[in-house]
Each structure stands twice: as C-alpha cells, then as structure tokens.
C-alpha cells in the first residue's frame, strides 16, 4: 500500500470527529471518501495534510511512518491537496501561480522566460494550452481547478487529495477535470476523492470508503456496488428519494410579484417575471450565464437599473438588501463562506442574525426565544452539532449550509431566493431539504431556485427559466419541465419556448 492509516482518532470538545479509522490507498487508484455531512471526511483529510494534529493513530507512506505537522510538510512528503474553493491567487498570472515559491532563478532574480516555458510544459501534460501570462482569475473555475491540481502534483507527486473539487463546475467542466485525474491515476498516483455527487463517484472511483459518525463503516471496490447500497451504508438507513412533482396546480394561483423589464446593463439583460404565491421558479443555465447575477439583482445587492418590481399593493423598493428584506424577500447565497456564515458567532446567533437585524438593535430577541428558534431549526434541518452555542465555523461544510438556510427560514419571507441551496449537502439531508421546501411552498412561500442539478430543478420547480449569456432565453412550464428539455434549452439545441 502506498498510504496506510491505522486507528486515526481526532477529538474536538464535545465531538469525536474520527474514531479509530483505518484506510488503505494504493498507488494508481482513485479512492472515494463518502459520508454524511459531519461524518469526518474533511477532518480525516486535514489530519493527513497536517492542518490538524491527530490525537491518535499512525500514518504510513511507502512503508515509512510519517507525522505531518503542517500542510507545507505534508506537501514535501508527497501529499498535495486541492479544495473546493480554489486556493490560489487570482491576481497573479497562471505561470506565477503554478511556480509560486519554486520560481526558476538566474543571477538570483526570477527567470521570467524560464518560468513561462516551464509553466507551459507542465500544463501541456494536462492538455491545456493557455496563455500563462494572463491572470489566473480571468480563466474559468475549471481551468483554475486544473492549475491547482497541476501545482499540487508538481510539488507533491505521490498522493493527491481532492475535497469536493467539482461542487462549482458544470457537466462539461467536470468531464475535463476527470480526464486530468484519470491521467494522473494511470501515471501511478494515489488519489483521494471526496464528493456528495454519487454519479461522479461511480464515474471516477475505483474503491470507496464510507465514514459514519467518525467511524469507518466499509472499504470496498466500487464495481458491483449499487447506488442504493452505497446510500444505505452512508446513512445507516434506506433513503426515500424525492420524486418529481406532478404537473403543478399553482398555475391557477394569481401572481404575487411582478418584475417588468428588470435588468442591469452588462450584467443581466432586461426580462419580465411573475411569481405566484407558493410557486417554485427554477433558474437553469451554465456557470456564468447570469443566474447568480439575476438573484443578486432581485435582492438589491447589485440593484436593477431598468424596470420595476411590484406586488398587489404597489411598487417595491429593491435598491439594497435591507429594502428587499423589508419587502419580504430572502436570499441564501451560493458562497456560504464569504456571503453566508459569520464564522466566530454561534449557530444560534447565526440563525437569529437576520431576524434580529430586521427587528432593529433596540429590540433584542429574548434569549429563550432565540434558543427555541435555534433548537427548532437544528432539529428540522438535522444540523449535526454538539449544541447551539458551537461557533458555526466549526461545523462541517454541509451543516454550515443548513444553518444559513435556517437563518432565512426563520425570517419567514414570502419570496425566498436560493442559490445552489444543496451544494455540499449529503444525499440524506438533500432529500430532507427538498421535502421541507415542499412543505413551505404548500403554505404559500414562493421560491426562486438556482441549481446546477437538473434533477433537483425537475423535482421541485413548477417552472424553469433558462439563461444563456446573461439573458433569459427560454421558459419551461408544467409537464415540459424535464431534465432533457432543460439541457437542450441550456445548450440552445432544443425547440423549447
């Protein structure tokens, strides 16, 4: 075995995040690490890369015990990591990012020409021929992700760890990254792959290890394993899948909100939209097609320059988020780390933050009421935590996402915009959240749902609007809402209207 982990244990106050976990990873295999939110996947990886100090257990690399105490040390030992959020510097050029810290030198100065040619040669191995003098940030997330992988492989070269690397990629980009990963596997690298997208796991992985509550449940080859068996091992129970809703009856409901000719130059072309009470409108489109921009415009983050918004009582002011909130809007953003969580505050404080801001500083929510709200949502959304006073930053990624959703649900909006609400959420919680959304819309909540997962749109949306190149290009209603139809409309090949 290239990498062997024995009896790995990690304890946080109130939580045994890893309990006696064994894991073997061979050279030339893609090993998927699966489990519910909070199962311990990221913790295991952080112990492996030295980001956390383990409390017990041994790690052996190529037969020799290792004890990485920092990510730098782990890199030098041969273990490189790529995270969901690209952790490179977007303002530096591709070449600088790739060679950062190991620039070729001539006469003590950085050899720019040498650096460029080395960077080009490296990227050529990954089938990329791009201008290495342009800023990294000017390329798509997929290319940035590949540059991150190339950098990790160049520096480390034995083990490559990918923690949810595809969460913000579209289907074609995922295929591109996967080709790169397969190439590395064939060159004999060991690859650890964490993802909540089971299709991708079946597509890429050779073996899977499943964690539950910090313990290893199983390690097995993936061939012959069914999706259902995998999910049962993860959750410890069978999953009731949420199936597509029948053609909605919401069409009869009168429109609650009207947006007329609303748009912003260079960001979103003007469009009309009406939303009925209890209706779920889906927004589909490729990354960069203007989905998030549409959401930010409706919520007043980058407000509309043209058009009007109104409800039955008259025009609505949506010039900034506070105004939108006053109009009964809510917005759970895509990037939970920068736009969602307030890391050092507790789960309770994060959940009540929006509610408190709306009441004003002079009328604090009584503590008993805060506790009740927090406990309610921790139970309803199954947020895995040792208590409501835990800082939200110490929750696992998926559980942070649930707590941000709770903040908006607690405010009881009439129109809620959800931007990739289930990103990073495990299959079990995913079904729970979709079910919760159904209950809320039955009670009259209207939703604008942005999602890259077509199945999710098909499952809950009454109507899907498709965006391409920052304009609304198609609308699918009722029975026409199907994964194939959406895909065609996105690609511009169907005859959807």
């Amino acid at each position: 075995m290239l990498l062997s982990i024995r009896s790995l244990t990690k304890v946080f106050p109130g939580t045994r995040a890893l309990d006696d976990v064994d894991l073997d990873i061979a050279a030339g295999e893609v090993h998927a690490l699966l489990g519910e939110n909070g199962a311990g996947k990221s913790t295991l990886i952080k112990c492996l890369t030295g980001a956390y100090l383990r409390d017990g257990g041994t790690i052996t690399l190529e037969g020799a015990p290792i004890d990485p105490r920092s990510t730098l040390q782990a890199q030098e030992l041969g273990i490189g990591t790529v995270y969901q959020e690209v952790n490179l510097l977007p303002n530096l050029t591709v070449a600088q990012n790739l060679m950062f810290g190991r620039e070729p030198r001539r006469f003590g100065l950085i050899d720019m020409r040498g650096m460029r040619s080395q960077a080009r040669a490296t990227l050529a191995q990954y089938g990329l021929s791009i201008d290495v003098d342009r800023d990294l940030g000017s390329y798509s997330v997929a290319i940035q992700q590949i540059v991150a992988i190339a950098r990790a492989v160049e520096i480390s070269g034995k083990v490559l760890i990918l923690d949810e690397p595809t969460a913000s990629l579209d289907a074609a980009e995922v295929a591109m990254v996967f080709d790169v990963v397969r190439g590395l596997r064939d060159r004999g690298m060991a690859i650890v792959f964490v993802s909540h997208f089971l299709d991708q796991v079946f597509d890429l992985a050779d073996r899977v290890t499943i964690l539950r509550n910090g313990r290893r449940v199983a390690s097995q080859p993936i061939v012959g394993l069914s999706r259902m068996a995998l999910v049962e091992q993860m959750l410890g129970r069978a999953l009731e899948e949420v199936v597509a809703s029948p053609a909605p009856e919401a069409e009869q409901a009168p429109a609650m909100l009207h947006f007329d000719g609303i748009g912003r130059a260079g960001v979103v072309a003007p469009f009309d939209l009406t939303v009925a009470a209890g209706e779920v409108v889906g927004l589909a489109g490729l990354l960069g097609s203007g989905r998030t921009e549409t959401a930010e415009m409706l919520f007043g983050i980058r407000p509309a320059q043209t058009g009007t918004a109104r409800d039955a009582d008259g025009p609505l002011d949506l010039r900034h988020p506070r105004a939108a909130i006053a109009a009964g809007f809510g917005f759970a953003p895509e990037d939970r780390k920068t736009d969602g969580i307030v890391a050092d505050l507790s789960i309770r404080e994060n959940i009540i933050l929006g509610l408190q801001a709306r009441r004003g500083w002079a009328r604090p929510i009584p503590r008993a009421e805060q506790n009740r709200l927090a406990d309610d949502y921790i139970r309803q959304l199954d947020i895995r935590t040792s208590g409501r006073e835990k800082p939200i930053g110490e929750l696992s990624g998926g559980n942070q996402q649930k707590a941000v959703l709770a903040r908006w649900l607690a405010m009881n909006p009439r129109f809620l915009i959800l931007d990739e609400p289930t990103r990073g959420i495990d299959v079990g919680a995913h079904a729970e959240i979709l079910r919760l959304i159904r209950t809320l819309t039955d009670k009259g909540l209207s939703l604008l749902l942005i999602s890259s997962e077509l199945d999710e749109l098909v499952a809950v949306a009454d109507r899907v609007i498709v965006l391409r190149d920052r304009a609304h290009v198609a609308q699918l209603t009722g029975a026409a809402v199907g994964a194939d139809a959406i895909m065609h409309a996105i690609a511009g090949t169907g005859d959807a209207a």
């Binding site: 304890v11 919520f299 506070r322 969602g340 307030v342 505050l345 801001a357 009328r363 929510i365």
Partner: protein, 332 residues
C-alpha cells in the same frame, strides 16, 4: 461563556501584579484618609487610569468592527482645548463640557464617514485626523497653554465624590453604561457580526454603514470624556501634549483585554482591566524604586509576557493538552 470566565485571565494578571508590587512595596494596598480624601497607591492608580480606560472603552468597539482609531489622543487635545477656550470666554462649566462633548462627537462622525461611507481603511482614515487634529487644537489655544480657574470644571478632574475621585466614577460609569447597552440590546451582536464578516452581515440585513459610523462616534465621545478629565485635572489645555501617544496605550489595553485586532468578539470589561494593568505596571515600577530609565523597558517586558501567555497558539495548545488528558481519564 460567562462574563467572569471571559475576564478571568485579566483578573489573574492584575492580582499577580498587585502581589508582585506588594512584595517590593509593602504599603501598596494601604489607603489613608486625609482631609476627607482617600489617598494611597491604589486610589492613585484608579484615578490615573481614567484617560486610557475611557479611550479603551471606545477603542474596544472600533476594534470589534475590525477597525482602529488612531485619532483618540488628538481628539482629547481638541476637546480639552475647546473646553478651556469656553471657560476663558467666560462660559460656565456646563457649557464647556457640552462644547467638548460635541467636538468629540463631531470628530467621531468625521472618522466614521471616512471609514463607512467613503471606504477609506480605518488606519489611514483616522491617521488623517490624528495629524490634522493637533493643528486644530493649536489653533484653538493659539499655541499657548490655556489655563482657567473654574472650580466647578476643576472638580471633574480632581474632585472626590462618595469616597472616590470623580474621574474614577466617570470611567466606571462609562464602561458599565457601554457594556450594558451592548449586551442588553442587540448592538453587541450586530457589531461583532459586522466585524467578523461585513458582507454576510450586510446580506442578512444588518445596517453595517450606520453601525460603523456609530462606533467611531462612540470612540470620539469617550475621547472627549478623557480630554475633559485631563484638562480639568491640570486646569489647563496643552494642545501639544494632551493625550499624546495615548492611542497606543488604549490599543494595548484592548489587546491585553484579550480582544482580537481582527475584530469580532469583544469585552469592554476586559479592556478596562487592561487599562488598569498598564497603569499598575507603570506605578509599580516607580513604587518598587526602579530608576525611571527602566520604566519603559520593564513595562514592555511585562506586556510581552502577558501577550505571549494570552496568544491563541498557547491557548489552543493548552486546550489540546487539557482535552487529551481528559480523554485519557475518560478512557480509563
């Protein structure tokens, strides 16, 4: 976390310092009554802590928003000059105090607008007033030391009420009032949210702009109080030296109070204890009989020790050690 466990490290440091000084100077804790006034080293420390303690209260809020206010020393000078000017113009103590407080609020508003509306970095924004403001103060005093004899105003700096010097009551009342306002309303939570993640707070509907302006105004107000106390105590306004370098002591007090310069969670009580710790060190060095040349060196050394003991690194290693011992015990 309860208030007591939050300020426990500062209380322990203060107690240790008092014990240490008492070894060198046995009469440290004694208090005598002379002419109906309490006198003694401890009373002296409490009184001399007033300027830094007041500044630290406002500075705590500014730092909680991930900002910094370098102008507080200068604001003290402006407000002291304004009060002295009012008195020399024949106005009463009440009017002088009102004028000084208004000047402090205006200075805070200026800082707040630069930071929150114009978007200048707090360090730079308050540096502008820090340098420019001394000039304003000098214009008010016309370059002289403005002295006055108003006994009512003087009482604010050197009077005694209910057995304690008036400045002590002023900083105590200010600290308690600010702490209570922050924790009994939602202000404390909102300030912390803005300091930790302004964008997320903004998206959640928190009015970050108004909150930021408000904390700089609060800091200006606290600086005005400090300026009034100092001016009243020496019965004169010295535009060149009033409050000079005190912004640094205030920042130090906040840091000794365990508040992170990166913003977020804050404790006003801990910052005020930090101010007391600084003053106790200064007084202790003199009382223990060290030559004054050693003063700054010993002070810097002690502060360094305190900060190292409080560093998050050491705290987390200690916690690790403690937890692993607990885990050990739990297993057996």
């Amino acid at each position: 976390m309860t208030v007591l466990s939050r300020i426990a490290p500062q209380l322990i440091v203060l107690a240790a310092l008092i014990a240490l000084v008492s070894v060198f100077y046995p009469g440290f804790l004694s208090i005598d009554i002379q002419n109906g006034r309490p006198v003694g080293p401890v009373i002296d420390i409490l009184k001399r802590s007033a300027p830094v303690a007041l500044l630290a209260v406002g500075m705590t809020l500014v730092i909680a928003t991930r900002g910094i206010d370098l102008s507080v020393g200068t604001i003290m000078a402006i407000c002291g000059a304004a009060a002295a000017w009012a008195l020399t113009q024949g106005l009463g103590a009440g009017a002088a105090i009102a004028l000084a407080l208004t000047a402090g609020l205006a200075a805070g508003l200026w800082n707040g607008v630069l930071v929150a509306v114009v978007g200048i970095q707090p360090f730079v924004a308050t540096l502008i007033l820090m340098t420019m403001g001394r000039g304003v103060a000098q214009l008010i005093t016309e370059g002289r030391i403005l002295t006055f004899t108003d006994p009512g105003f003087g009482w604010v700096g050197s009077g005694v009420a209910l057995g304690l010097p008036v400045p002590v009551w002023i900083w105590l009342a200010t600290a308690i009032a600010v702490a209570v306002i922050m924790r009994r309303t939602a202000l404390g939570l909102l300030v912390e949210a803005v300091g930790i993640n302004r964008r997320a707070a903004h998206l959640a509907g928190v009015n970050a702009t108004v909150l930021l302006i408000a904390v700089y105004i609060a800091s200006g107000f606290c600086a005005a109080l400090a300026g009034i106390v100092v001016t009243a105590d020496i019965r004169g306004a010295d535009a060149n030296n009033a409050g000079l370098w005190l912004e640094l002591d205030a920042i130090l007090a906040v840091v000794i109070g365990g508040n992170s310069l990166l913003g977020g969670r804050f404790s006003v009580a801990a910052s005020v204890l930090g101010a007391l710790i600084i003053q106790t060190i200064s007084a202790g060095i003199l009382l223990a009989g060290f030559a004054s040349e050693y003063n700054l060196i010993i002070k810097a050394g002690l502060v360094l020790i305190i900060l190292v003991l409080q560093s998050p690194r050491i705290a987390s290693e200690w916690r690790l050690w403690r937890d692993s011992h607990r885990a050990e015990r739990g297993r057996t």
